[in-house]
Amino acid sequence: MSLIDLANPSRFSELAARLLPWLIAVTLLAFAIGGISAYLAPDDYQQGATVKIMFIHVPAAWLGIFAWVLMSVAALGTLVWRHPLADVAAKAAAPIGAAFTLMCLLTGSLWGRPMWGTYWVWDARLTSVLILFLMYLGVIALWRTIEDPTHAARAAAVLTLVGLINIPIIKFSVDWWNTLHQGASVLRLSGSTIHVSILVPLLAMLVAFTLLFFTLHLAAMRNEILRRRLRTMMMIQAQAAA
């Protein structure tokens, strides 16, 4: 199967059906490894056992951002090449990205209460992530508002690319402003500041969550292709009845 064949939604669906069982198995294995290493990880010398929240909070934050970047690449595919599979990829990623961003906000809030003494503070990092969540809801609403998927894809693509400006704001908010949220500790030019005994389980969970994202996204893309096939069939039926 050549790369151009994958651009065909039907061929893509066939490939997704073959890949999904393997992806599910690898994801479950990755979660087993990540879960055990997170369970066995030592407590932090300052934060105690609450550091275990990091093993779900950081991957959720990473995927909330990653999904928007993926949607932005797909948006270019929609606007520049007008490729239907790009529309499908963007639409399928939005609810998954929203869910992981919500997970990031909830777990961060539950981590913040014992460590900062508050569930929420309007600092730049927390506010920019909340804006990301609201933008996800906006894109999902836009997809649902416009009936024609081609028109909806173009409108959602423009909104996605406008929203891309928020991604560097989220990343650098802790450097540009004084925030209660800590600075970068994993992705730093000078290397991670996290001790290896906590960094290894964190990386294992990052891999597991990323695999989960790809599994869910592939399944959601297959569903979206089915939805479009159904829409076409219903239109043919309506035309035949007219």
């Binding site: 056992a49 998954i96 869910l216 959601a220 569903n223 076409t232």
Partner: protein
């Protein structure tokens, strides 16, 4: 509440539960959506509304 997870065990458990609920909801949504779409497509195909590509295929 003080357990092996320390005095903040409730927050740790709540965070993991929240993550579990969100992932379970995502998985359920995708599985139920697929089942719903497949049922509708099968229903349409049973009523003779096949795919355009299949309708155009030559029979052997």
């Amino acid at each position: 509440m003080s357990t092996a997870l320390g005095p903040y065990a409730a927050f740790i458990v709540a965070a993991y539960l929240a993550a579990l609920v969100i992932v379970a909801a995502l998985v359920a949504w995708i599985m139920l959506d697929q089942r719903y779409l497949m049922r509708l497509i099968e229903d349409m195909e049973m009523r003779g509304m096949g795919r355009r590509s299949r309708r155009g295929e030559k029979k052997p």
